[in-house]
């Protein structure tokens, strides 16, 4: 009998949720010993497809073949038994257990006693084989996210998976960790195992995969060999139109008034550990200052200090000469797009109309002597929905029913429509698809051109470089240096992001 070349085939998978066709006859084939990229915008149905493979959803139609044999996968344990390993975007680890305990958790065993030593031995062997080094005795919560991902991968390998699915693995990794991941993936395919690599980042897909399958709006678009693909071609397949983040021309302002002035600001993070160290920064009217840096180096604390949501331990912040002393919730003064729109920026079970006025719910014209004026609130909402192109049947829809991009539009409409003197945009494009990203960029540029001071925080270097007039790089709560946006060099910024101050480099 001829040996089957395909480790995994999913044929004509259709998944229907009430009112939504999440997957519409999607087909993927993954050969043995290859890395198949699964590429698509957010919401295109990549994760749904993989959840079908992992037995979390049952497809409405279509079939799954493993090693050429049709299989019914009804639950994750079926999937594991059939040699499928999955690393979810949100790790499924028990924080308070050690690495090795997590690895053997749920494995069937004949012995009633817990016998960790042989498991540890095999685990260390795997670490060696795949060059992913993790201390098996360390508690998981003490590990950085990157290492936690290694644990997830090793856990799947420990179970001897033939097909390993990685769902947006690089989202949480630093550049050097991403390189390590690439290396591990190569080791995995050397052993004739297969990897399905889910991403919406073109560069990585080009680097790592052998073939790429693109899906868009739940539909199968096509599969091409990576060596024949270009980033532009893949982007076109993904969005159906050519997209690049390009630096746009902008008017130059000569008269530059300082708006945001921060002097020697220090602040702690939630755990009480210093997160901002003696930081000074000035943002002028009519400029975008981009804050680059690996996420978690003080960006969140920086934004919160300016908005008055976090107490400073030292230093002073003033906006247009007014010192920041408490929470600023006046969108005509400060527009603040917080980094976590679902947790901070929106009340998920409030309607769109209500969310648009959470900062002004006691002010005219939305309230009169403490009584809400729903006529004005709703007509305001309808106006905003039209102006900011929020896709929704009505202003009474709860924001939790909107897509991420439309939720962000609601936040932007609330924060920026009143023409604030200072905009803080913390990761405003995170999790948005390319079309929505371009939209946010245009809005921020328009804000700058209107004369607002804009502080733009992002972990995506490309967009910081495309959008900013000046770029500062944060590392461990300190500014590593400042560059002109127009002439900034990506490698220099990359070095600064890893902790090398600009002066040292020059």
């Amino acid at each position: 009998m001829e040996e089957n070349r395909f480790a995994l085939q999913m044929r004509d998978i259709t998944v229907e949720f009430p009112g939504v066709l999440a997957n519409d006859h999607v087909t993927i084939d993954c050969k043995k010993g290859e890395v198949l990229g699964l590429l698509g915008e957010n919401g295109a149905g990549k994760t749904t497809l993989m959840n079908v493979l992992y037995g979390l959803y049952q497809p409405t139609s279509g079939k799954i073949l493993l090693d050429g044999v049709e299989r019914q996968i009804k639950s994750p344990s079926d999937a594991i038994q059939n040699g499928i390993g999955m690393v979810h975007q949100h790790f499924k680890l028990v924080d308070t257990l050690s690495v090795i305990e997590n690895v053997i958790l749920g494995m069937p065993s004949k012995d009633q006693r817990l016998n960790i030593e042989p498991a540890k031995k095999r685990f260390l062997q795997l670490c060696e084989e795949y060059e992913l080094y993790v201390d098996p005795d360390e508690l998981v919560w003490r590990l950085p996210v990157g290492k936690q991902q290694w644990v997830e991968i090793l856990k799947a390998l420990y179970r001897d998976c033939n097909v390993l699915v990685l769902d947006e693995p690089t989202a949480v990794l630093t550049p050097s960790e991403s390189d390590q991941l690439c290396c591990a993936i190569r080791h995995i395919i050397e052993k004739n195992r297969s990897v399905v690599f889910i991403s919406h980042k073109l560069r990585e897909v080009m680097e790592i995969t052998d073939r790429v399958t693109v899906i868009r709006d739940g539909k199968y678009i096509g599969t091409i060999d990576t060596k024949d693909a270009t980033q532009i071609k893949l982007a076109e397949m993904m969005v159906g139109r050519p997209v690049t983040i390009e630096r746009k021309d902008r008017p130059v302002f000569t008269d530059k008034k300082p708006v945001l002035v921060m002097e020697n600001v220090s602040a702690n993070d939630d755990r009480g550990i210093p997160a901002l160290k003696d930081l000074s920064l000035t943002v002028h009217a009519g400029e975008i200052v981009g804050v680059a840096g690996v996420d978690g180096n003080g960006q969140r604390e920086l934004a919160e200090c300016i908005a008055g949501l976090r107490k400073m331990t030292a230093g002073e912040i003033s906006i247009q000469g007014k010192p920041v002393t408490g929470v600023i919730a006046d969108p005509s003064f400060l527009g603040f797009i917080p980094e976590d729109r679902q947790k901070t920026g929106l009340v998920m079970d409030f309607s769109i109309a209500d969310n648009l006025i959470i900062k002004e719910h006691h002010d005219e014209p939305y309230a009169n002597k403490g009584v809400l004026n729903y006529k004005t609130i709703k007509s305001h909402a309808r106006e905003m929905i039209k102006k900011y192109h929020v896709k929704t049947p009505s202003e009474d829809v709860k924001v939790q029913h909107l897509s991420g991009g439309n939720q962000q539009k609601v936040v932007i409409a609330r924060e920026l429509d009143a023409k604030p003197v200072l905009d803080i945009a913390a990761h405003p494009t995170r999790g948005l698809d390319l079309g929505a990203v371009a939209n946010v960029h245009d809005i921020l540029l328009a804000e700058r051109n209107r004369g607002a001071a804009v502080l733009f925080i992002s972990a995506e270097l490309q967009e910081v470089m495309a959008l900013s007039d000046r770029i500062i790089v944060l590392f461990s709560g300190e500014i590593m240096g400042e560059l002109e946006g127009e002439t900034a060099d990506q490698t220099i910024i990359g070095q600064m992001m890893l902790g090398q101050p600009l002066e040292v480099q020059q």
């Binding site: 949720f17 009430p18 009112g19 939504v20 999440a22 957010n42 919401g43 295109a44 990549k46 994760t47 749904t48 959840n51 959803y57 975007q89 949100h90 996210v145 769902d167 947006e168 989202a171 949480v172 919406h200 996420d295 908005a307 949501l309 929470v327 600023i328 919730a329 006046d330 603040f336 917080p338 729109r341 679902q342 947790k343 901070t344 920026g345 929106l346 009340v347 998920m348 079970d349 409030f350 209500d354 959470i358 900062k359 719910h361 006691h362 309230a367 403490g370 009584v371 809400l372 729903y374 939790q400 029913h401 897509s403 991420g404 939720q407 990761h427 995170r430 999790g431 948005l432 995506e460």
Partner: protein
């Protein structure tokens, strides 16, 4: 034109709220009644006969109805006080304590021969009741809002203190405590401080109607005022409330105090309308039943009206049921408890179903929103 109006009426938040929560609640109650019926059958009584007696006892006569309303009075007031807390994410469940403090406040001015016109004397009692309860509520309110003390523990403990404080007041506080009686009680309220009886030959006082009006008032406050907006925002997402500039701490303290004031009024109405004296332990468990009322209502003020009347009907009719059919008198408590469990159970199950449908729909979007962390 007329048709359009009716459609608009159906879309109003009042109706939408009710239809959404009412379906679950009714299903839960029906399941509770069926299970209760099985238990009644097990004890050898035809459940249809028993429930018939229950209904007749509650609604079969004007006496029955007035009895239901009188029993509903403290549940309505207590229920709305707890419901307000639920909406803001605070478990303000010390209603029993607030009722005692309100009763003490009312008694201090109520038993005095002040020779005031009835309206003013009654008003004075209410003011004292509110003030006493407000101070009592201020303590857990402050501790919760500014010191992070768990409000469940604090309010329950305050209730115990209130009970013993009342015992002391009615047994030995000069001018208030009645002397030479076998059971600790206060002096009788002056007749000018008593609430009028609305129906001759019954004990129907204005309490239940005050309760219903307050429920409607708080329905309006929650849905149509900035204060209510802030309250709901705090309950739904405290992070967003802070970000939106709301003073969450002040709001939490205010909500607990308002709940306390309503609880105090509830206690005052009870002694001024029904008991005419403050007795030692004159309320037992009503404060906790009002927590159940608020839960059954899902924190919705209109739901509180329905839930309180439902509880009161079961309690009033249950007495008739046990007298007429010989079903144990504890059966009505069992039925109430069964209804509660099923309503909450149906709520959880349905919530899970709705949430599942939601997550499935927005699965990819959610995942997208988190990426890059």
């Amino acid at each position: 034109m007329k048709k359009r109006n009716s459609v608009q009426f159906l879309r109003s938040p009042l109706v939408e709220d009710l239809t959404a929560s009412l379906g679950r609640t009714i299903l839960g109650i029906v399941m509770g009644l069926i299970t209760g019926g099985i238990l009644i059958a097990l004890s050898g009584v035809n459940p249809l006969v028993a429930y018939g007696a229950l209904l007749r006892g509650a609604f079969g006569s004007s006496d029955g109805i007035s009895n239901v309303l009188v029993r509903a009075s403290p549940l309505l007031l207590g229920g709305i006080g707890v419901a307000l807390g639920i909406k803001s994410g605070v478990w303000n469940i010390g209603m029993e304590g607030y009722m005692y403090l309100g009763a003490i406040g009312a008694a201090i001015v109520g038993v005095m021969p002040l020779n005031l016109p009835a309206a003013i004397h009654i008003l004075l009692c209410f003011v004292f009741a509110s003030a006493f309860a407000a101070v009592w509520g201020l303590i857990p309110g402050y501790l919760k809002a500014y010191k992070g003390v768990n409000e469940v523990t604090a309010t329950i403990m305050m209730s115990y203190i209130a009970i013993y404080l009342t015992n002391w007041v009615v047994s030995s506080l000069p001018l208030v405590a009645e002397e030479g009686v076998f059971y600790p009680m206060s002096k009788k309220f002056e007749s000018s401080a008593l609430l009028p009886i609305l129906m001759k030959g019954s004990s129907l006082h204005p309490g239940p109607f005050i309760g219903i009006i307050l429920c409607l008032v708080f329905y309006f406050i929650l849905n149509y005022t900035s204060f209510g907006f802030r309250t709901k925002m705090l309950g739904s997402n405290p992070h967003a409330a802070r970000y939106a500039g709301a003073d969450s701490k002040k709001q939490i303290m205010l909500i607990i105090m308002i709940g306390a004031i309503i609880g105090g009024l509830s206690g005052a109405v009870e002694v001024m309308g029904l008991k005419r004296r403050v007795y030692m332990e004159f309320v037992t468990g009503v404060g906790y039943e009002s927590v159940a009322v608020a839960l059954l209502a899902g924190g919705n003020p209109i739901g509180v009206i329905l839930a309180a009347l439902f509880f009161a009907a079961l309690k009033a009719g249950g007495a008739t049921m046990s007298i007429e059919t010989g079903v144990s008198s504890s059966m009505n408590s069992i039925i109430i408890a069964l209804c509660m469990i099923f309503v909450i159970g149906v709520g959880v199950a349905d919530g899970r179903r709705v949430r599942k449908a939601d997550t499935e729909k927005s699965q990819d979007e959610d995942v997208g929103a988190k990426e890059g962390n």
